[in-house]
Symmetry: C2
DNA sequence: CGGTAAATTGACAACGTTGCCAATTCCGAA
DNA sequence: TTCGGAATTGGCAACGTTGTCAATTTACCG
């Protein structure tokens, strides 16, 4: 039956040409949807291809076209939810495109610095999506630009630069969240920072500070805690905060994972959320919905950012004109973990100054 | 400076040969670590390659060798944590190999049935890792085997079959968890099932039943709830269970996401965990550590399973001999969400029969 | 019916690499 | 010094596809 195929291996374009009584060029035309193929010829070719279970050889196609149709997603692993959102956004954009996505989980932005272009070349990538904080390493960006490797960065829009970029405005978002806490009457608000290696850390903090300043509320620097964007670091920060008699009435964590850790710490100290302490996060990751009560947070459209970034990258690869920076909207999600400041606050705050 | 390279594009093996004063064949030898290249020649070639920033063209190499060095990971998306563990396990095994990993998130096993081989062919994959429940679709397995596409399934070891497979013994693990609850004195134990499309669902249930039977405890079928392995389905199941006056003293959910939902439902009903009700999960996913209290669960070595499966796949591709099925050990993790059955249980259980 | 443009098809040379095999060089032994 | 075999190197065809360009067929006009 299928004896037309060259022995053993997969059917090639030549096999299809023979079986359909045409030339390999015509078969190629059919499989690339080129015009100028008679309908009847096309039908014959497709029948032959189906009978032989023919699939174009991607390597040969890549070779002759000088293209790999491969793009890379480089990311650190801040949280599985975030990573999966990124991947899904990128993959969904690629659906029905010829491009395929290769994953490059990185240990740290610093470790990759200077090696990224090489990795991309070795893998034959046509373009790169850089997830935070990889897009913020100046050396990497410089290297990619000089190497003419198309890339799009997912990064806070406030960190403006000449290269294409997609993100939300972290400063503004943090300001909005802080305002929400102020509106609830909170004055002793602690802030738990993220990984100092991520630019978002500084931006969220500055948004927080800006809101306090605007409201004329002075900030007790002892309420600034360090963190690493991990659940554990949030737990530790929460314990430090709640161990102090001058404990805050609200805690704003720079991401949800830390906020969840802080919530656990609060429970360890017998504090009710939000009656005794309000807790706010950032990212709207899955974890913010599985704590009890659910976390008030900032929705960051991670999926959309990856989708848009991939879209931009494809345009860049095809040398189409392109907006330099795309800002996506964030959203304040008020859920159960934030509430009115406890009434005793003023007395409490003043008791030990 | 770098004028030796052919204009514009990337340097090719010919450029390196010219610059190093050797032949392309010798350059090829150097880059493939073949023997019989004089040390001094090798050095010259490497210098020239570095100067030209030469990287072998993967497409050309794939074409001539008839290999793509691409393997695919097909998975549904039960939970981000699980997916990331899978990916990381596979990617870590691939480190320092020439192989690269392509992602194929699937809507549902049913939707992919019959299309998987085609997708693999189209993408030029050399092999496939099937994450649950994709490996349990008989049609897919048959198709892959007949198409001679190497594949390894990650699936419960109790679902034995002729094709290579890696997994834990779900039945035994569920039995161990149930025994744990029985040991704590629980007799009214509810079970929340997972997605009926996953074979693990049936196996975990059967392990649960077996443990009860062995202990001589009869099972009230009203305590069997349906679920879909999602947090929301667990929340819903929990609400149904706790709304009933005959509520269980312990709930065993077929995975952690559902258990977390059940924990939230318990809190809605003012039930303390574990004083009023014990809750057990399965998987040891991140979520089991961020609930309060943390969930007692079964540690499933997802990372290791993907690692071992990838290892087996590479062996299969290289036509090396291979163990048909590999069973990996699970572990019962007792944390805060399970405790002694409330003393009033007997009275409570008998009050409305 | 002849002529011209458009539609359709095919021949053949790349693309950059590796496998096969022949050519050359090197080394120690005779 | 010469010889034989091992070490080292190079030449060239092939891998399966697409781009270029020429050849052939078809359709339409006057």
């Amino acid at each position: 039956m299928e004896a037309t195929a060259n022995q053993g291996g997969r059917a090639t374009i030549t096999d299809v040409a023979k079986r359909s009584g045409t030339s390999i060029k015509t078969v190629s035309r059919v499989f690339n949807d080129e015009p100028f193929v008679r309908a009847e010829t096309k039908k014959r070719v497709l029948e032959a291809a189906a009978a032989l279970d023919y699939h174009p050889n991607i390597a040969a196609r890549s070779l002759v076209r000088g293209r790999s149709f491969l793009i890379g997603l480089f990311y650190e692993n801040p949280s599985p939810n975030y990573v999966v959102d990124l991947q899904t956004g990128a993959l969904d954009r690629l659906r029905d495109e010829r491009f395929r996505l290769l994953l490059f989980p990185c240990q740290s932005a610093r470790a990759m610095s200077g090696k990224l272009l090489q990795v991309a070349r070795t893998s034959g990538l046509e373009g790169i999506v850089l997830a935070p904080p990889l897009g913020d390493d100046p050396r990497t960006v410089k290297e990619l630009r000089e190497g003419r490797m198309p890339f799009v960065r997912i990064a806070p829009t406030t960190a403006l630069d000449a290269s294409p970029m997609v993100g939300i405005d972290d400063v503004e978002a943090a300001r909005a969240m802080t305002q929400h806490l102020l509106d609830l009457g909170h004055r002793r608000i602690a802030f738990v920072q993220g990984d100092p290696g991520h630019p978002s850390t500084g931006q969220r903090l500055s948004g927080f500070r800006a809101a306090l300043t605007e409201a004329g509320v002075s900030f007790d620097e002892r309420l600034l805690e360090e963190g690493m964007y991990t659940f554990e670091s949030g737990l530790a920060a929460g314990r430090r905060l709640f161990a102090d008699r001058m404990r805050p009435t609200a805690v704003f964590a720079a991401n949800d994972d830390m906020a969840a850790g802080i919530a656990v710490a609060a429970k360890e100290y017998g504090l009710d959320i939000p009656a005794h302490v309000s807790i706010a996060g950032f990212d709207d990751s899955l974890i913010s919905r599985v704590t009890w009560p659910q976390l008030t947070t900032i929705h960051q459209p991670t999926y959309d950012m990856a989708h848009v970034a991939t879209d931009a990258l494809l345009a860049l690869i095809e040398r189409q004109p392109l907006d330099r920076a795309v800002g996506l909207p964030h959203r304040l999600l008020v859920r159960g973990s934030t509430g009115k400041a406890p009434s005793g606050e003023a007395a409490n705050a003043g008791s030990s100054a």
